[in-house]
Symmetry: C2
Subunit: 198 residues, 2 copies
């Protein structure tokens, strides 16, 4: 096991979850989202998106923190980088925007770890792939997913139009129908790490 | 992309594939395999298994080398470690046994890279998981999958009861029915690497 990287994981009960102002929804329909993506691509080129894998544990098993909008869309916390923005700094900004008090003067210190996976969007469509498909010279989006090492306690504040979920890895695995290809394969991407349940 | 690890990948045409003596089949039926696993567990405890991800490319897209027995069972090259054997040395031994001339005095230099994934077998059953499921204190097998960096040319010799396949990543992705959960999620596990098609 010497080749394993260690991720320290703390109990869910170490964390508190409050509410904050709702985030304005940029798109109501998926088609709006794809239209906006197309317009942005014309202006800025390849869209780069970053997301974080935040882990806690309960009943001796690791759980992934996810954000849910309404009763359907489930996502990792993260978002789109500004043109030219550093991916680590951009992920910290997005984590604060999605998970922390915006008003507090003390901002959380996000510790961003290794890249766990990368997904490519070849066209202005919903499907992404864990490789750039053949014959695609100009992919439209690249999404990078990073491990986020949580400290042993933290107060999260979640926009009130979002719900936060802690989902066990065994529920995600092989569950493409509910979580989609990206989130349902996070257990495989985490498997090379030694998750140290403290 | 600076956080990416690079894997150099060479064209399939750089490699040659010959035949060698067949490997004796230890088990004819799956039930024999599980029985043998049970007997070995009683004697040696946790079974540790190692496998290699060997990549080539064709038509500008990465392909994974796989071994097929008969018309069904498709596996990564690898095998079981001897009790106490170092996992890197054990993987080199298994790669030579499955992919190289046994008679040649010059043995290939296998360059074993990063661990890409780990799978656990909680019971003497076929299913494995990319985590140790809750309430399992004594998993029966741990399988670790490593990147193998191929040199830019090599002569493979395959036991004549096995076939070697080069399968594109886009064919593996989301194809659990044909390749099983472990092999079909290799594209996700590789996604964090920058595959440099030379």
């Amino acid at each position: 096991m010497s080749s394993h990287l260690v991720v320290k994981v703390h109990p869910l009960s170490c964390y508190s979850f409050g509410k904050k102002e709702a985030k304005v929804d940029k798109d109501i329909f998926l088609s709006d989202r794809l239209d906006r993506m197309r317009a942005n691509f014309m202006r800025d080129g390849l869209r780069t998106y970053v997301e974080g894998i935040l882990l806690v544990y309960e009943y001796g098993h690791p759980h992934l923190l996810l954000l849910q909008k309404g009763n359907k869309i489930i996502r990792l916390p993260g978002g789109r980088l500004r043109p030219g923005e550093n991916e680590i700094e951009g992920l910290k900004r997005k984590l604060t925007s999605k998970l922390s008090s915006s008003s507090s003067s003390v901002q959380p210190i996000w510790q961003i770890g290794e890249c766990a996976g990368v997904w490519w969007r070849p066209n202005f469509e919903t499907l992404m792939y864990p490789y750039c498909p053949p014959h695609i010279n100009k992919p439209k989006e690249c999404k990078k997913i990073f491990i986020v090492h949580l400290s042993e306690n933290q107060c999260f504040e979640i926009p009130k139009n979002l719900k936060i979920l802690a989902v066990p890895l065994f529920e995600l695995f092989d569950n493409v129908e509910k979580y989609g290809p990206e989130i349902s394969s996070i257990p495989q991407q985490l498997s090379r790490f030694s998750l140290d349940l403290e």
